[in-house]
Symmetry: C2
Subunit: 310 residues, 2 copies
């Protein structure tokens, strides 16, 4: 059903004979990343990256060793780390993602992505993208849509791999962003140093705000999977003419994860999809994609039909 909705929508927007035609330059499609394009459980990939970077940061700044939350992170106590409050996690994110040149940051993140593996599948995180969503991205681009990632994750982090993994270039990644400061290194060459100053918190209301800042047009198509995407879907949906807002529901514990708490699924702090969001989607006509029912295959590395064989 989701597939036919997408192809029907796209055909209606590219057919010049139809009143629903959308000129190519206006064809903007925005996608949340974590939980929409790739796996976000049991923890956002970027948070794992930042936790792994703590020892290197403490080596540079030894005074952090005995300070919280760094002390807990260094202890390696997974349960204690999982209990860290959001503002302490944010402190780790800022400490590990700022203070270096943008080139240094890119090199560090790239090196980590090449070696880090997801504990459940024992594969690089970049292989854990959803095959049906990769097909949606390609299908939209083949029909003249410009595809953007609009993520609560760090803009610079996602830019490191988005082109290779999704075919989405850095300039089409909108994410949570800190400022940079232009200066010169000892040799007199220009540098941009990442500042611990938040410019854009690209979650919730920050998503349409970020879309306006970075794109300047309202999307015709938006995909999300959690309450953090609600405003982006609303903003897309409220535009004139044809619009499509879609949500991915993680209801497949066997092949991926099952969490909500919409539809009685388990509650989670990572990628919450509330019943209120589910009801808003249903009442407005946004399609809710069921991973269990709508997706024949979840990952590219699965053989087609593997589910039927299990």
């Amino acid at each position: 059903m989701a597939k036919e909705t997408i192809t029907g929508f796209v055909q209606a927007t590219v057919d010049k004979a139809m009143r629903t035609y959308v000129p190519p330059e206006a064809r903007i499609a925005t996608f949340d990343q974590d939980g929409t394009l790739w796996v976000e459980q049991p923890m956002y990939t970027q948070v794992l990256y930042c936790l792994d970077r703590v020892p290197a940061v403490v080596k540079q700044l030894p005074e952090l060793r005995e300070r919280q939350p760094f002390k807990t992170v260094l202890s390696g106590d997974r349960e204690a780390i999982a209990r860290l409050p959001l503002h302490e996690i944010e402190e780790v994110l800022l400490a590990t993602m700022t203070g270096m040149t943008v080139e240094q940051f890119t090199a560090e993140a790239k090196a980590w992505l090449q070696t880090a593996k997801h504990p459940r599948w024992d594969r690089p995180y970049t292989e854990l993208t959803y095959q049906p969503m990769q097909e949606v991205l390609r299908y939209l681009r083949a029909n003249g849509y410009k595809t953007y990632i609009v993520t609560g994750g760090g803009q610079d982090f996602v830019r490191v791999y988005a082109e290779q993994v999704y075919g989405i270039p850095p300039e089409q990644v909108v994410g949570t962003a800190v400022g940079t400061t232009y200066g010169y290194d000892k040799g007199g060459s220009p540098t941009l140093i990442k500042d611990p100053k938040l410019l854009l918190n690209d979650n919730n209301a920050g998503k349409p705000e970020g879309i306006h800042l970075m794109i300047g047009r309202r999307p015709y198509v938006s995909f999300g999977n959690s309450t953090g995407d609600r405003q982006m879907l609303e903003y897309t949906w409220a535009g004139d003419g044809p619009r499509m807002s879609m949500l991915v529901l993680h209801d497949d514990a066997k092949r991926e994860y099952a969490y909500g708490p919409a539809q009685g699924l388990a509650d989670t702090k990572v990628g919450t999809f509330t019943q209120a969001l589910y009801d808003e989607a249903r009442s407005k006509g946004w399609v809710v994609v069921s991973m269990k029912d709508d997706w024949n295959r979840i990952f590219a590395f699965e053989s087609v039909g593997s589910r039927a064989l299990q």
Copy 2:
């Protein structure tokens, strides 16, 4: 000479057989707007727009009528207005460019651009773009370059006309930007209201910072015309491989304006091109384009060779 430099550079970056080849996705070219793509004298177009908007803002907020700098602007005393200090001009910009939805702002700016005319040529400001620069934009795009405006002017203001005037879509306009706040109107529809809170001051060091924020790649080509562009040109030039940084020198009082103060031209508060910048350009090998000597025609509405006939 400038023309041959540009064509030589571009050919060297698109020829796969050359070591200077640049893959298509990395071909980013950034252009300052005021004084580089269109006329900025005797005053930036956007500042004139904001001054013209003051009566409408005062109608909404009558308490501003007796307050400075609004009182001076309403007086219509051109000399007093010209003497307003920068921070008071900025107060006018914020008051006239924020507090409305992004759609209202776009509609107001569009209406103004359709009627306002430059006093010297008695033509819409959007006709006062430099024909040779339009050719450079088209030539770069024809060779796979993505062309961006990187302007100290308001990002939302330039986006109103950039696609029609330069063929540059809104998402390729980087400019001085305020934040927006997502909310709902009385009917429950989502709105984005422009805030009086500066997110990015896209001048000087703010230009490479804005390029990183909005594009995330270092340009291969940059054009500017004033000290406000210096850091963007340096940042471009300092990249690996082939890079091109260029400056437009306004040295043609007869056909346009002559100001610097580089090369002994008149000093100005609008688009200052200092001798230090001129010397940096010469020492680094950045081409300085002379409007007088290098440009056969300045505006599209001039007949070719009109200079020879005068």
